[in-house]
C-alpha cells in the first residue's frame, strides 16, 4: 500500500488538513515545515522508521479478522473469575452511542450529566444488591478491588496489625495482585484453611488475632461453592476488630445472602459478569463499603447535587481523596477506571429487572446442579467433589489425569479448566447451556 491512505494522502486518515490549510497554519506560526515546530535535539531525534505498513480501513479490518480467526471456535465451559451471561443487544447499542463512548471523565459535570447519571444509577443498583451504602464508580477488576480493600482496611483500622487473611481457595492470580499492592504498605497476606470448599470457621478462629486488618472470603467461591458460614466469618472478624471483605458478583447477589446482613464491611468482585461477554479477562472491579469509610474509599464517586437553577444534578464528589489533587497521599493511584463497563453493567441489570435477575441467578444454581448430576453418572467422573450447593460452576474428580481430559475435550470443541491432577472445573450459564448435552456426550467419550 506504499503508505498512502485511501484518499491518496500520506498521513493519518483522522488528521483532516488539506495541503492549503497546512500551509496557512504554518504561515500563522511562522514555520516553513511542521518539523520546525519540534524542539528536539538532534542527538535524540529519531530518523528511522517503525517498519509498520499503513493500511486502508478495509485492509486493517481484514488483517485483524485474519489474526483473530486463528482462535479455535470452542464452546467454553469456563469461569473461575471470568463469567459470561448472554448480553442483550440493547447493551451494545446504547453503550456504543458516541456521546457516551467518546467522552472522558466528568470533570465538567454540567456538560456530562448523562454519564454521571448512568454511573449514579450503577452505584445505586449495587447499593441495593450489596446492602452497603457506598459503591464507587469502578475499579479495574476483582483482584485490584480486593487489594484496594486491604489498603482501605489498613487506613481505617486502629490496630497496629498488618495481617490480611485469605482463604485457601483464593485464585493464585488474585493473591499475587493482593501481595503486589500491599507490599509497599508492609502488609502480610496469610492463608487460612477451608473445609470441603467452604471457609473452615475453626481454622479461621485460630488464625485470627487482634493484629488482623481484614478477613477475606468469597461467595460463591472460586471453586463454585456457596458459603454456608458467612455470618460466622463476619462475627469472628468483628470480634477482633478486623474488616470483613466479601468477594461476589451482581448475579450471585440477587439470591445469595445480602453482604450487609452477614456483616461485610467491604464487597468486591467482578461486576462485568453483567454487561460484558468473555473478553480475555477484561472486567469491572466492584467496590462497595460502609458509609463510615466514605472518605477513605479509592476511586471516583458520583453524588447528587443541585445546580444554579436548583435542579437535581450529578457530579464527581469527594475528589480530594484522589490522586490528581492529593497526589502521594491519595487513597489510591487509580485514575482511568472502567466507567464504560459500569455503564454496560447498569444497562444489563436494568434490562433484567429484579425478577429477571433473580431468575438468572436461580438458573446458575440449577444448571450447575443438573450438570454435576449428569457428569456424576459418567463413568470415570465424580461430581461435584464438594458436598455443597454450587453457583455456575463446580469441581469434578476425574479418574484419568485432568489435563488429558481437558485436552481431549478441546479436540471435541469444548474448553473446561483442569484445576488439579484429577480435578476439572466446569462452568455453566445461560450462555452455554444449549451445549450441555453435547458436553456430556464428549465427557462420556474422553473420561
Amino acid at each position: 500500500m506504499s503508505g498512502r491512505n485511501e484518499r491518496g494522502e500520506r498521513g493519518s486518515p483522522y488528521a483532516p488538513h488539506t495541503a492549503a490549510e497546512t500551509e496557512a497554519m504554518l504561515d500563522a506560526v511562522d514555520a516553513d515545515d511542521v518539523t520546525d515546530l519540534f524542539d528536539i535535539p538532534e542527538s535524540v531525534a529519531f530518523d528511522g522508521d517503525f517498519g509498520i505498513e499503513a493500511r486502508t480501513e478495509r485492509d486493517a479490518e481484514r488483517h485483524v479478522w485474519g489474526l483473530l480467526s486463528r482462535n479455535d471456535d470452542l464452546t467454553e465451559f469456563l469461569g473461575r473469575g471470568h463469567y459470561e451471561h448472554y448480553v442483550p443487544s440493547l447493551v451494545d447499542h446504547l453503550s456504543q452511542r458516541s456521546e457516551f463512548l467518546t467522552s472522558y471523565t466528568q470533570y465538567q459535570p454540567e456538560i456530562t450529566q448523562g454519564f454521571l447519571q448512568a454511573l449514579f444509577e450503577y452505584q445505586s443498583m449495587l447499593v441495593e444488591l450489596t446492602g452497603l451504602e457506598i459503591v464507587n464508580a469502578s475499579m479495574y477488576d476483582h483482584a485490584s478491588a480486593l487489594a484496594e480493600a486491604a489498603l482501605l482496611a489498613a487506613r481505617v483500622r486502629s490496630t497496629d496489625g498488618d495481617r490480611v487473611l485469605v482463604p485457601e481457595y483464593l485464585l493464585a492470580e488474585r493473591r499475587d495482585i493482593l501481595e503486589n499492592y500491599t507490599d509497599g504498605a508492609g502488609l502480610a497476606v496469610e492463608t487460612y484453611g477451608t473445609d470441603d470448599g467452604n471457609v473452615d470457621v475453626d481454622a479461621l478462629a485460630e488464625a485470627l488475632d487482634d493484629d488482623v486488618l481484614m478477613v477475606y472470603a468469597e461467595n460463591p467461591t472460586t471453586r463454585g461453592t456457596i458459603e454456608e458460614h458467612l455470618a460466622d466469618v463476619g462475627d469472628l472478624a468483628d470480634d477482633h476488630g478486623a474488616l470483613f471483605c466479601l468477594g461476589t458478583d451482581p448475579v450471585a447477589l440477587a439470591v445469595l445472602q445480602e453482604p450487609a446482613s452477614v456483616g461485610a464491611d467491604v464487597v468486591v468482585g467482578d461486576a462485568a459478569a453483567l454487561g460484558l461477554p468473555t473478553a480475555y479477562g477484561m472486567g469491572l472491579g466492584l467496590f462497595a463499603t460502609r458509609e463510615e469509610f466514605v472518605r477513605q474509599v479509592p476511586g471516583r464517586l458520583v453524588g447528587a447535587s443541585e445546580d444554579a437553577a436548583d435542579r437535581r444534578t450529578y457530579t464527581l464528589t469527594l475528589q480530594t481523596r484522589e490522586q490528581h489533587i492529593r497526589r502521594e497521599r491519595a487513597t489510591s493511584n487509580i485514575c482511568t477506571n472502567q466507567a464504560w463497563v459500569a455503564l454496560r453493567t447498569a444497562i444489563h441489570a436494568a434490562y433484567l429487572g429484579p425478577a429477571g435477575l433473580v431468575d438468572l441467578a436461580n438458573d446458575c444454581v440449577t444448571l450447575a446442579a443438573d450438570l454435576a448430576d449428569r457428569l456424576d453418572d459418567v463413568s470415570g467422573l465424580q461430581a461435584p467433589v464438594h458436598d455443597r450447593h454450587h453457583f455456575r460452576e463446580f469441581v469434578a474428580h476425574t479418574d484419568q489425569p485432568a489435563a488429558a481430559i481437558a485436552s481431549d475435550l478441546e479436540a471435541e470443541g469444548f474448553a473446561v479448566h483442569a484445576v488439579g491432577e484429577h480435578e476439572v472445573q466446569v462452568c455453566v450459564t445461560d450462555a452455554n447451556e444449549h451445549a450441555v448435552d453435547r458436553l456430556v456426550a464428549a465427557f462420556e467419550e474422553v473420561a
Binding site: V29, I111, M282
Partner: protein, 484 residues
C-alpha cells in the same frame, strides 16, 4: 458556534416543569420481588429491589442520557494531557468480533489468534517507544506506572540495593498518578521543583539524585508541552546515581516518528493506548497502560508475556524474575484489540503525521488566542494563563460556546492554567472556532463568567453541597425526601 445541550425535563401530568430530567431509572420506579430459590432459605436473601422497566423504556432512557453527554464526536475536546482524539469506528467492529470473545483460561493452542495479536502489539509498541520488551497487562496508565515501579524495585533488589533505594523523584509538574503510584509501591516521593524555564532544573536534580534514588519519573514533553532538551544530561545524572529513568507515556502523542523514549535514555515507560492510539475513553475508562522496558529489565516484567516459538506458534510465558501480576487476567483485552487495529491502520506514515498535525494544531491554536502562554516552544499542548480571570470560570463559560474546555488550574506553575491539547483531528476551521470561544470568554466580565454555563444540560453545579451533604445512591436521595 452556538450550542444548546439537550435537557429532558419531567412532564408527568401534562404539566411541563423545569426540573432536571426525572430519571425513569430511579428509586421511584423500583420493584421489590420476593426471592424464591432452589437454595435453602438460610443461604438466600429475602427480597431484591431494582428498577423494573421495559426494553423500549430503557432504550429511550439511555438515549436521552447520551443526549445529555458530550464526547469527542459532539465537538472539540481540547482537554490538556488527555489526548481526546477521534476514535475510529472500525476498531469497535473488530473488537466486537465473536472470535475476540474468548476466555483467558483456554490453552495457548486454541488461542493462537489472540496471542498473535498480542505478540504483534508488543512488537508495535516496542518499535514505537524504542523499547526492547513490552507487557500489555496494566489496565490503565496508573497501573502501568505501578507495574513499571515494581520492575524498578525488582531490579534494584536483584542488584542488592533494593533496601536503600527507597526514593522516587517526581517533578512538581508531573501527573498526580506519578506521586500516588510511587507511594503505593512504598516509596518516599521526592518532589523536584521546576526550573525557571518550566523544565527539569539540572542542579536540583543533581542534588536530589543519590544512593537512595530508585527511579526518576518524567514525561517528555512535560505537562507544559515543553521538550526536556537536556534529556541526555538528565539520564546521565540519574544513571550515575544508580537510579533508573521512567517515561510517563501520557504525552507520547507529541513524539511519534520524531523521537523515542528508548533513544533518550529512558529505561521503563508506559503507553496510554487510550490517548496515543485512539481507543475511546468511555467516560473515564477502560484504557490500557502497557509497560515497556530495555533489555536488562525484561526478565522482571509482569507475567505472562507472549512469545513466538521456533515453530511459529505463539505461547504465553513467565519472564524469569517476573514481578508477578498487576491485573487478575491480562488487562483490558478489548482495548488492546482496538489499539492494534489503529496502529495497523495508520502505519509509520499515519503515526508520524498524527504527531506532526497534533503539534501543528496546538501551535496554530496558541497563535490565535489572546490569553498569554508563558512557556514555550511547546509541542502537542500548551498551557495558557487566564490571568486575572478564574480558570475554572473560564472553563464553565467555554461550555456555552459549544466546546469542551481545557484542563484547568494545573500544572500550578502557570497561574490560572488553561492546559490545552486540541490533537491532530481538528480542522483549521474548528481551531478558529475554538480560538473564537477562547477570545470571547477572554473579553467577558467576571459576572458573566461566574453565571456560566447557561446552555448546558445543567447550570453551575454546587460542588460544596455535593460533598457536604453526600448523596451517593437512590437510598440517600430517598432519605432526603423523607426529611422534607
Amino acid at each position: 458556534m452556538r450550542y444548546d445541550q439537550a435537557r429532558w425535563t419531567h412532564d408527568k401530568n401534562g404539566e411541563s416543569t423545569d426540573d432536571q430530567y426525572e430519571p425513569l431509572l430511579s428509586e421511584k420506579n423500583t420493584e421489590e420481588v420476593e426471592v424464591e430459590s432452589p437454595l435453602p432459605d438460610e443461604l438466600t436473601r429475602d427480597t431484591v429491589e431494582l428498577p423494573g422497566l421495559s426494553e423500549p423504556e430503557l432504550a429511550r432512557h439511555y438515549t436521552r442520557l447520551s443526549q445529555m453527554n458530550y464526547g469527542v464526536d459532539s465537538g472539540p475536546y481540547p482537554l490538556g494531557s488527555c489526548t481526546m482524539k477521534y476514535n475510529p469506528k472500525f476498531t469497535e467492529d473488530v473488537a466486537a468480533l465473536p472470535s475476540a470473545a474468548v476466555h483467558h483460561d483456554r490453552s495457548d493452542r486454541s488461542l493462537q489468534g489472540t496471542l498473535a495479536l498480542m505478540h504483534g502489539l508488543q512488537d508495535y509498541l516496542a518499535r514505537i517507544g524504542g523499547m526492547d520488551a513490552v507487557s500489555l497487562q496494566p489496565p490503565a496508565g496508573a497501573a502501568g506506572e505501578f507495574a513499571g515501579i515494581l520492575v524498578a524495585k525488582a531490579y534494584h533488589e536483584a542488584e542488592g540495593d533494593g533496601e536503600t533505594r527507597d526514593e522516587i523523584i517526581v517533578p512538581d509538574s508531573a501527573h498526580g498518578t506519578n506521586f500516588a503510584s510511587a507511594a503505593l509501591a512504598g516509596y518516599d516521593v521526592v518532589e523536584l521543583p521546576s526550573g525557571d524555564d518550566g523544565r527539569v532544573d539540572l542542579e536540583a536534580l543533581e542534588a536530589a539524585a543519590g544512593d537512595r534514588t530508585a527511579l526518576f519519573m518524567l514525561t517528555n514533553p512535560n505537562t507544559l508541552g515543553l521538550f526536556e532538551r537536556n534529556i541526555e544530561e538528565i539520564a546521565e545524572i540519574v544513571h550515575d546515581a544508580g537510579g533508573l529513568l521512567y517515561y510517563d507515556g501520557a504525552n507520547l502523542n507529541a513524539l511519534l516518528g520524531q523521537a523515542r523514549p528508548g533513544d533518550m535514555g529512558f529505561d521503563i515507560m508506559h503507553y496510554n493506548v487510550h490517548k496515543t492510539f485512539a481507543t475511546p475513553h468511555g467516560g473515564g475508562g477502560p484504557g490500557a497502560g502497557p509497560v515497556g522496558v530495555v533489555s536488562d529489565l525484561a526478565e522482571f516484567l509482569p507475567a505472562p508475556r507472549v512469545r513466538e516459538t521456533d515453530s511459529g506458534a505463539y505461547e504465553r510465558f513467565d519472564p524469569e524474575s517476573t514481578v508477578g501480576k498487576v491485573h487478575g487476567f491480562e488487562g483490558n483485552w478489548l482495548v488492546l484489540v482496538k489499539a492494534y487495529a489503529y496502529i495497523a491502520r495508520l502505519g509509520d506514515v499515519g503515526l508520524e503525521d498524527a504527531s506532526a498535525k497534533a503539534v501543528l494544531n496546538a501551535n496554530y491554536l496558541a497563535s490565535q488566542i489572546e490569553y498569554e502562554i508563558p512557556f514555550g516552544p511547546f509541542h502537542h499542548e500548551f498551557v495558557a494563563s487566564a490571568g486575572d480571570q478564574d480558570a475554572a470560570d473560564v472553563a464553565k463559560r467555554m461550555l456555552d460556546y459549544g466546546v469542551h474546555p481545557p484542563t484547568t488550574k494545573w500544572p500550578e506553575i502557570v497561574p490560572e492554567a488553561l492546559m490545552t491539547e486540541p490533537t491532530e483531528i481538528e480542522t483549521k476551521e474548528t481551531l478558529d472556532q475554538l480560538a473564537a470561544a477562547f477570545d470571547a470568554v477572554h473579553d467577558e466580565d467576571d459576572e458573566t463568567l461566574s453565571a456560566a454555563p447557561e446552555r448546558t444540560t445543567a447550570r453551575r453545579i454546587d460542588q460544596t453541597s455535593a460533598a457536604r451533604d453526600l448523596r451517593l445512591s437512590w437510598r440517600a436521595l430517598g432519605a432526603d425526601d423523607s426529611e422534607e
